[in-house]
Structures are given as structure tokens and as C-alpha cells.
Symmetry: C2
């Protein structure tokens, strides 16, 4: 097990060189009381006489004292931070989740440490190690790999965690997710309703359960409509971003017969595909109908407004945080809970066929 943070930056070879800030001792001296009294003034004001309290606060103010979280943490054995590990912060969907989580955490006086694994296992392990070193109070995690062995670091340290945008297997943890199977079914069901029979699913990495579930839903929809599974083209993009979408789009154009109804694993992929199609002179929705996933703000503003499956990103982040906080503060018999939101199809022009 390597330390998450290696020595890198000019480590102080000469301790005592750098000025340590104002400490509780300085405040105590200035207010002419003991350090215990200063601590009480800040944490249990009701124990002090109004006079002493005021005197201490004046000294705090005057010296600009800010308590050291590390010392407080060391004593308390835990921090006031949550860790949030997302797949890709540049995806507005995760940005929205992070935002919701941050708001909810702040309401409980907790900070959030935001990290971006970039769907990279090494980065994921780095950050989970960081969470452990920091002894974060809890973690919100969207794991990269389905096995999620990297979470053992958290378990060993008794750090509770909640899965974000991922269903917990068994009763390992709480989780907040969206029913991706239904989401996929809605998307492809809609394409089928529009009369399309040559369906493609443009997936992200199949190692992600989200991508697998959306495929499952897509195939289910085909079953229900009596369309043969095997006619469904599946293209797997390497990552879930716009660039990978552009790539996947050109691969799609090479296929024959060319699908007429395309369901993309998320909006970034869909927007990338859209760019490729537009550049290639393929008309959307007339030649190819397109459905995305997440309904990020930009879907509605796309070249052709994008039909998408909406997930309540901010609400998911907030709910996950609430579950986590409840687990942290909760009594012994905490039972893991899986909150599942329903996806919602938002139809826009990219999928509406005119006849």
C-alpha cells in the first residue's frame, strides 16, 4: 500500500522555519485564561460566564484565530469532511450531483472534497486512499469498476459510504440510483414507437453498470415490440465524453445496414454523435433519430434539440448526502437503503419523425 501523497513539494527540511499561525495558546494568553477556557468559549459557550466569553471572543477576533482542523480532528478521530468521487467532473451531470451534495452537506456543517476519477482505476484508488488518510466522515462514490474492491480501504477504516448513481449489491451500503433499465426501455421504446426498426445502442464502457443496464432496458423494449435482439447494433465508446461520441458516430456511419434509431448512453456521447452526423450531412431526425441520457442543460440547446432521459442530478446528490449523514449520525440498527429515482423521457426534435 503506497501512501496516497508522496513527498513532492519542497518539504520543510527546516522545521520551525515556517511561522505557525496563531494557536489557541496565543488566544489564551491574550485573554488571560487557560486554553481549556478558550476551547469552551468556542464549543460550549454556555459553560462560561458572559464576561469571560466576551473577553475570549474579543481576543479571537483581534488575533484572527482560526482553529486547526487537524488538531481538532486528531483529537476527535474523525473529520468534518465528506469525500465525493465522481466519474467525470466535466460532465455536467456529475457537476449537478456534486452541487446537490455540496449544498446538502453545507446545511449539516460538513465540507465536501470533490474528486474526479476520470474513469481511471488508478486515480480512483489514489483518491480513496486520500479519503482514508483524511479520515473523511463519509464518502459518496461512483465506482469505476463493478467489483469495487478499491472500497475495501474505506471499509477497513470504518468510513461509511453511499453509492451515487449505482445500485449497491446486497446490503453493502446505501445507494442512490436511477432505474437505468427503465430508462433504456423508455428511450428505445420511444424510438420503436416512432417506427424505427433498425436500432443502435451507442454505449460507453460496458464495465459500467449504468451502460449495461441501459442496454438491458433497450433490449427489453425490443422484446416487447417483437423486434429481434440480434438486429440491434451495439457500439461501445471508450469514454463517456463528446470526443468519444464523435468517434463512435463515425464508426456508426460505417455500419450497414445503417441504423435509423440511435440510443446513446449519455448526452455527451449523443452530442458528439450529432456533430459527426451533421458534419456528414446525415439529417437528424429524418435519416437518423437520436436519443440521449441525463438531460443535461445542453441537450435542449443542441444543434437538433436532443430527446433525452432525464435524471434528477442535484436531487440525487442531495439525497445521497442525506442518507450518508443519517448513517453517520444514526443509531446502531442502521439499515441500508436504496433510493431509486424514476427516469423521465423528455422528447425533443432529435427523435420525432415526420411523415
Amino acid at each position: 500500500m503506497t501512501a496516497a501523497l508522496q513527498a513532492g513539494v519542497g518539504v520543510t527540511d527546516r522545521p520551525g522555519n515556517r511561522s505557525r499561525g496563531v494557536s489557541i495558546k496565543d488566544v489564551a494568553r491574550a485573554a488571560d485564561v487557560s486554553v481549556a477556557t478558550v476551547s469552551n468559549a468556542l464549543n460550549h459557550p454556555e459553560l462560561l460566564s458572559a464576561d469571560t466569553h466576551a473577553r475570549v471572543m474579543r481576543a479571537v477576533e483581534k488575533l484572527g484565530y482560526v482553529r486547526s482542523e487537524s488538531a481538532r480532528q486528531l483529537r476527535a478521530g474523525q473529520s468534518r469532511m465528506l469525500g465525493l468521487l465522481a466519474l467525470d467532473m466535466r460532465n455536467p451531470f456529475f457537476g449537478g450531483m456534486a452541487h446537490g451534495a455540496e449544498q446538502a452537506a453545507r446545511a449539516d456543517g460538513l465540507g465536501v472534497m470533490l474528486c474526479d476519477s476520470s474513469q481511471d482505476l488508478a486515480a480512483e484508488e489514489f483518491y480513496l486512499g486520500l479519503f482514508a488518510e483524511q479520515r473523511v466522515r463519509g464518502a459518496l462514490v461512483t465506482p469505476t469498476d463493478s467489483s469495487a474492491t478499491s472500497l475495501s480501504v474505506l471499509r477497513r477504516h470504518g468510513i461509511p459510504y453511499v453509492f451515487l448513481d449505482r445500485v449497491a449489491s446486497g446490503d453493502e451500503a446505501c445507494s442512490v440510483s436511477v432505474d437505468d433499465v427503465t430508462g433504456g426501455r423508455l428511450a428505445v421504446g420511444h424510438l420503436l414507437e416512432q417506427g424505427h426498426r433498425d436500432i443502435a445502442y451507442l454505449s460507453g464502457p460496458m464495465s459500467l453498470p449504468q451502460c449495461r443496464d441501459r442496454r438491458t432496458g433497450a433490449l427489453q423494449a425490443c422484446d416487447e415490440a417483437g423486434v429481434d435482439h440480434d438486429t440491434v447494433t451495439v457500439v461501445e465508446a471508450e469514454r463517456l465524453d463528446v470526443e468519444a461520441g464523435r468517434d463512435a458516430g463515425s464508426r456508426l456511419l460505417g455500419r450497414s445496414p445503417r441504423p435509423t434509431g440511435v440510443f446513446c448512453a449519455n448526452d455527451l456521447i449523443a452530442l458528439g454523435v450529432l456533430q459527426t452526423l451533421v458534419a456528414a450531412g446525415v439529417a437528424v431526425p429524418d435519416d437518423i433519430a437520436l436519443v440521449g441520457y441525463d438531460d443535461i442543460d445542453f441537450a435542449a440547446a443542441a444543434a437538433v434539440p436532443l430527446t433525452s432521459v432525464r435524471q434528477p442530478a442535484a436531487q440525487m446528490g442531495a439525497t445521497a448526502t442525506e442518507l450518508l449523514v443519517r448513517e453517520i449520525a444514526g443509531d446502531e440498527q442502521h439499515v441500508h437503503e436504496n433510493v431509486e429515482f424514476a427516469p423521465e423521457l423528455v422528447v425533443r426534435r432529435s427523435s420525432i419523425t415526420r411523415h
Copy 2:
């Protein structure tokens, strides 16, 4: 209260799990050495015999020991974290900056604490306070208010900071910015070149220097083209997001005479405006030409591909981090530096008038 919190954690805990994690003492006991030796094994392996080192590492592995960053920090007097405070993480531009900063920091063995002030002063102060409590090694800040008095918390604690996407006034700090005046000039200059004479600037909050500078540049361009200042319509959106853009767009439509060339303070606003215009049946670029700012990924994928002023987001984040690291590790006579990137106009269909 704290005791209750500690008790709540361990549903999945095996018996024998203590509420506090494995400490260096446990490792020392398991490896039959002193704590000092364990510490050395981890931080100065060259001091130990190969045999002892191996024995200690085996114990570390077996117990799943992860050192407590708070204890280490307390002793060291500073942490291995940088703080990054951005205006809005849901804006892909800031996402890109954060990503660049994170990469650069990780290369130096530093972690980054990402925070989102949501352009809210209270949130900004909360997070800066958090940075101080955490004794972060340094901070990357895009302040909400122009006065930036909230930064005094950092100054008092000798925490170095670098301005991100904001020029430092005087020699207060290093900064990484883009020449927004030039950016504004490029944008509006381009609109004027296309023959537009009724120009509008769709700004975000004027409290943001970015918004003010872009306006300055816009007016400069008018001067140079001999167009009167006063004919420029200025609409101020409350926030810099898509929704605010939609609002601003409908306000714009009410104006008469209606401007034909519109420069938006950022791409989110522009995309919002674009949605409103399209919905209202106003043709872009024929009725109204549109220019955005930031050149986020989605600009190219917009309903009408969006002309935009590109800023190198990731590079800005990385550069800022490098400046900060240099200041942290640097010698006494550190001189603050302002790295200014040049904006670049990327012309797409939204601004090209056909005649």
C-alpha cells in the same frame, strides 16, 4: 454527541474492529519495533535494515494501516492539500480549469479540495474559512466580489493564493487570467465586421471583473469602428448559466430597436439566449448573430454552432497550480507573477451573415 456519532458507524463491522482505526502503535506492536521505526520505514526507508523494513511493511499490509493525515499535519504544521474555489462547477469552463489544476497538483503529490461558491459571498466565506481551518498548503481562487476582502482569512494564516481567471491588483498575489478586454474586442469586432451596427452585450453580474472587462473590450471595438457607445444595448443577467441566459434572451427580444449582433458574457448565457431565439422563431445568424465566450465543448454542438472566444481552461488551471507550487516551495524573494493568456476567436455559424 461525538460519542454517539462514533457509535453509529459500524453495521458491517466485524467484531474486533475498534472504533478508532489501526494506528502506528498497532503496526509497531505487530512488527515488534518502536513507533519511530514504523515511521521511518514509511518515510525514510534508507535508514532501516532491509530486514526490519520488510517486517514493518508486512505488518502495514496485514493490518491495512493508513496513516492519519491529521496527525501528520498537526506535526508538520501544514497539509498536503490545495484549495480550489471556483464560481460555478456546473460550468464546464470551471470544470476544465479544475481538471487541469487537479492533474498538475497530483503530479506534485498534492490533493485538491474543490469548492463551488455559486457566486455567493456567504458560500465563498464559508469555504475560505474551511481552507484556513484545514491549513491548506495554498489556494486557487476565483473570488466573487471584486474587493476580495474575504481573502484576509488566508493572508492572516500565511496561506499563499493565486487568482484564477482574475488579474491580481497590485502585487497581492500571482494570477492566471485571460485578457478579457481583448476577448471582448475580438468578439464585438467580429460582429462589426459582419456588418452589424446594433450591438448588444449580454452580461453577467457586473460585480465580476470578467463581465466588466468584456464590456470594456466590446465598447473599445465599437470606438475603433466609429460606432457610438450609446447605441450598445447592455442586458445584465443575474447569473452566468443557461437559465439566466433564457431569461436575458426574452428581455432582449422586448428591446426596440432589436439588436442584430449579440455578444454574450459566456457560452452558457449564449446557449440560453439561443434557445429563446429559436423558440421565438428568430433566425440565427440571419436575424441575430450570436457570439459566446469560453468555447466550451457544447458550443460547437449547439443548435447553431456557436462562435465563441476560446480560453484554455485546463491549461489555466495547470499553470495556476504551478505558480502556486512555485510560491510554496520557493525561496524568500518570491515575486508575484501574472500569466495572461490570449483569447482566441473561434468563428462558427452563429455569427456568419450571408448576403
